[in-house]
Symmetry: C2
Subunit: 311 residues, 2 copies
């Protein structure tokens, strides 16, 4: 990766978990800012961030970290954004841009929007980059490489501030798409929120069986179950907030899914092999499209089997 | 891998797809038999098998391939097993062992069992080794490494024949567990069949939306959806047969899952954040147990992001 001219003079990261640390690492690696300031609520996280060094300065409060920054990225659970925005609002520099990385966007706009002072740009963002890991030690610079980032700018943001944030995410390796917050919340309800909900639900179902032991579920999980457990290991606080703040879209998608599942259930009960075969054949195509679009690896079993790695 | 004394003089593979080819490759690699004969219904598959060379002889009929073999492994969809067993029954050598790799076991016993002649051992087996790939070119010798294989022997099989098949699967890298066919079918209904059904169902839901385009579903699939599509790309014929032949256990697990999903739906509708948080926290533990048991990789994002692999 060649070094390039910094896009922002100074960047502030509020929240130093998986996303915050990954941004910090890649900004350093690619020289996208001259200074990164950071804040995390937990003292332990601040210490780890200092030790790993993905921020240049660590502060005792969000306001201290945000003061003088040109780009403030709030990388905290949606439920914490209202109070963070209230705290940093008084110290925001005119012309600065506030953004976030939250998985829902209408609720983020409701939480942060009212606090943004005149002259400050607010450009909500959502990098679609998944990992089940959380915490400041889980970050890696390549997290956003070949991924998508969605921006849902509010009316008052200047075109220049939006353009610059697009440039920033491009530099982190992501393609950017701009859409309304409402549309974002529908798209993510089906591509991310419903899958997580289902994954949590089946893990719960598997925990409550009388005839099958937990150790059997775990031993034989390679048959498919383990695929669901990866995303069911994601951060509980973050996901609680997602479901509570994107309730309408999630319930809508869940209703549709339940209908489709009932139809499948009926086909099995009535031995409708042809209908099952047709559906399964169509699903294979969706998979091919995802692999072709570069959004998944074609390695068998995700490359879980480390070929040649055994003695 | 050091070479070892062959466990069987000759092995016959009926069906040369992912599982058959993976067995053939590993038997050759580890010298577990002096001869592998093979048969596949499709001429094209037989040609590919010959070219790759994971069998020593390719035959024009299942009976020709099975004649004189000490171990016959039926690696075909469950729906094809009845006719395969009927065809090979007359040529089976006394003392030979017939086994299979089917994902259900009660139905396999009903399909194959009645054809097995006296003096031939029948030991149904199910290697729990998942890949979404199918066909003779998708096999690899490491597929069974560090996985589990379940045996569900019938009463007439000799202890020696069971012991030898356990030794064979151990040599392929798998641990072996022996249980009843009925229990197997319950265990797999939750760990494999229900996850596949749900994955097929959500892919179908995502294909039928008015507000979200297919290209959006694909672009933003890294948020969780793509995890489900991997198993929804599995072989349609095989999975149709699984659902039709393990109907009772699948419908039972599906009923439980639907109840649990409804409970979650209610918690979201009534903003019960504490209940959601508790459930999500418990799910994380199940994930940790699976990783600790060696049934999944701990690499973030399954190592889908090839770190250092980009320019």
């Amino acid at each position: 990766m060649t070094s390039q001219k910094p896009i922002y003079e100074s960047i502030c990261l509020i929240g130093l978990g998986l996303i915050g640390s990954s941004i910090g690492l890649d900004v350093h690696k690619k020289n996208l800012a001259n200074h990164i300031s950071g804040y995390a609520r937990s003292e332990k996280t601040r210490q780890i961030a200092k030790k790993i060094g993905f921020v240049d300065s660590v502060h005792e409060s969000a306001a201290d970290a945000a003061r003088d920054a040109d780009l403030i990225i709030i990388c905290a659970p949606v439920g914490a954004m209202d109070s963070i925005a209230a705290e940093i609002a008084p110290v925001l520099k005119p012309g600065a841009t506030v953004t976030d990385v939250g998985s829902v966007k209408q609720a983020v706009i409701e939480a942060i929007g009212p606090h943004i002072p005149q002259g400050v740009n607010f450009v909500p963002a959502h990098p679609i980059a998944g990992s089940e890991k959380s915490g400041p030690e889980s970050g890696f610079a390549e997290l956003f490489q070949d991924r998508w980032c969605i921006l849902t700018p509010v009316d008052t943001a200047t075109p220049e501030s939006i353009e610059k944030l697009i440039q920033f995410w491009n530099a982190l390796g992501s393609s950017v798409e701009v859409m309304t917050a409402k549309h974002h919340d529908s798209v993510l309800a089906i591509t991310s929120h419903l899958p997580h909900l289902i994954a949590y639900s089946i893990v719960s179902t598997a925990s409550d069986l009388e005839d099958v032991t937990q150790s059997e579920v775990i031993k034989f999980s390679a048959g498919g179950f383990r695929d669901f457990t990866r995303i069911a290991a994601s951060d509980p606080t973050m996901w609680r907030d997602v479901f509570l703040t994107n309730k309408d879209a999630v319930l809508e998608m869940l209703g549709r899914f339940s209908e489709d599942l009932s139809a499948l259930q009926r086909q099995i009960r009535w031995n409708d092999g042809d209908a099952l075969f047709d559906l399964f054949t169509r699903s294979k195509e969706t998979r091919s499209n995802i692999v072709e679009a570069g959004q998944d690896t074609d390695a068998p079993d995700f490359g879980r089997i480390q070929i040649g790695d055994k003695e």
